[in-house]
Amino acid sequence: MMRIFDPHIHMTSRTTDDYERMAAAGVRALVEPAFWLGQPRTSVGSFTDYFDALVGWEPFRAGQFGIRHHCTIALNPKEANDPRCRQVLGVLPRYLEKDGVVAVGEIGYDSMTPEEDEVFAAQLALAIEHSLPALVHTPHRDKARGTVRTIDVVRESGIAPGLVAVDHLNELTVAPVAESGCWMGFSIYPDTKMTAERMVSILREHGLERMLVNSAADWGRSDPLLTRHTGEAMLAAGFTDDDVDRVLWRNPVEFYGQSKRLDLSDLSNATSSTFQGNSILRGGS
């Protein structure tokens, strides 16, 4: 059985059907980064309630399906531009001390504004202060230059590149990140960011070291099983079971394990007994 650690997936936007299918496909652990919810938020309170869910309700929900849930906490780049949301920076230290928080993220650039510069740098400093890795989103628009600028900001911050994952890469942005010493994240999507087959070609060319493959499944058109699909595409292309295990399990464990807060104990027994037909799954009354 392929064991899968999805290093980037937004379970808050997914149903219990997804959890059930993910568990059946071999997903045993995941990290849910704090991000934009589609609808702009207008106050700090909406963020703290969201963060509370990421360290409270969502891990409980995942646990019902035998899946270990961790998260990353940050003010995302898009909302960093909204003055109503900036005070979120003030509540972050409290959340960055939680057991389930294994990185600062998603941080980085959306439109590459001066506000984003400031918030990105401030949150890299928080990662250093709280001894956490950082998960960095790269922009959809002007991606190649955005990625290079991201690497510059990471370098200036003084954080060790090995503590940083630069995410949503593609054929054009992987090389500078590989050179920087940061981890390389790829989001496999049904028809946009990256496909399983293109991912296999990238792994052939750049090797398996510091490579992270995620589904980044969220409220948009996406598929939480594309990690598994990528593993199968790797096997079909001649990679070994051990190669697949390295990319889909050992690499994300190594990256987030640097937080010293990853808890994967007792996972083999965790195919939860509460799961089978128990009314707890319906969420009580």
Binding site: V55, G56, F60, V91, R94, E97, D99, R261, G284, S285
Partner: protein, 206 residues
């Protein structure tokens, strides 16, 4: 009261350096608890204590940290709950019977926990701690009935509900009977402790 908790915990830790330092720091500088409280699990551990059934290491360590707060710093309790993850919230709930906090602080915390669908929080809100009077005594009869019926709904072990038979009144018996009938109509089973409770309550009336 918390001495027995400390002894049970200390007996199972490899060393108590972190715990002792944290307890001393909190008693001297209460605001430090905001950073020490979430760290208790990764510093001390999370296994179940063998000498104290129902207590995990992190629960015990967090409850002790709360009892180390000076009385005038009990305002920290509400904000630790507000910003707590599920394990921290559970520890606050379990500590409430041991803390000098007024009902005005206790009741909103219990009601928040009972609104969640997290079985660990609902159980902790209705349970007792080290034979102390349960925090749930501050709940109104209506809130307590709803809470316990929710526990039945979630199939929580009713043995962990404090003062169960003492507080279960005729109104609660009616509500429980309604749930039993609804489940029977749907062909779904009830847990034995719930049907036993209903039988006890009905026998009391006749």
């Amino acid at each position: 009261m918390s001495d027995s908790l400390y002894d049970a915990l200390a007996a199972e830790l490899t060393d108590t350096v972190w715990l002792d330092t944290a307890l001393e720091t909190v008693s001297r500088q209460p605001s430090a608890i905001a950073r020490l409280f979430p760290a208790a699990g990764r510093q001390c551990g999370r296994w179940m204590l063998t000498s104290l059934p129902g207590w995990a290491v992190d629960d015990a360590a967090r409850v002790l940290l709360l009892t180390a707060l000076p009385e005038e710093a009990s305002t920290e309790v509400a904000s630790l709950y507000r910003y707590g993850d599920a394990a921290e919230k559970r520890a606050v709930l379990r500590a409430l019977p041991l803390l000098p906090v007024p009902a005005a602080v206790v009741t909103p915390i219990l009601l928040d926990a009972l609104r969640t669908n997290d079985t660990r929080l609902v159980a902790a809100a209705l349970g007792s701690t080290l034979d102390r009077p349960a925090a749930a005594r501050h709940l109104t009869a209506a809130a307590w009935r709803q809470g316990v019926l929710k526990a039945v709904f979630m199939q929580l072990p009713l043995a962990d509900v404090a003062d169960l038979d003492e507080r279960a009144d005729g109104e609660f018996a009616t509500m429980l009977a309604g749930l039993v009938q609804e489940r029977a109509a749907a062909g779904r089973a009830m847990t034995a402790d719930a049907t036993d409770l209903l039988r006890r309550l009905e026998e009391r009336v006749t």
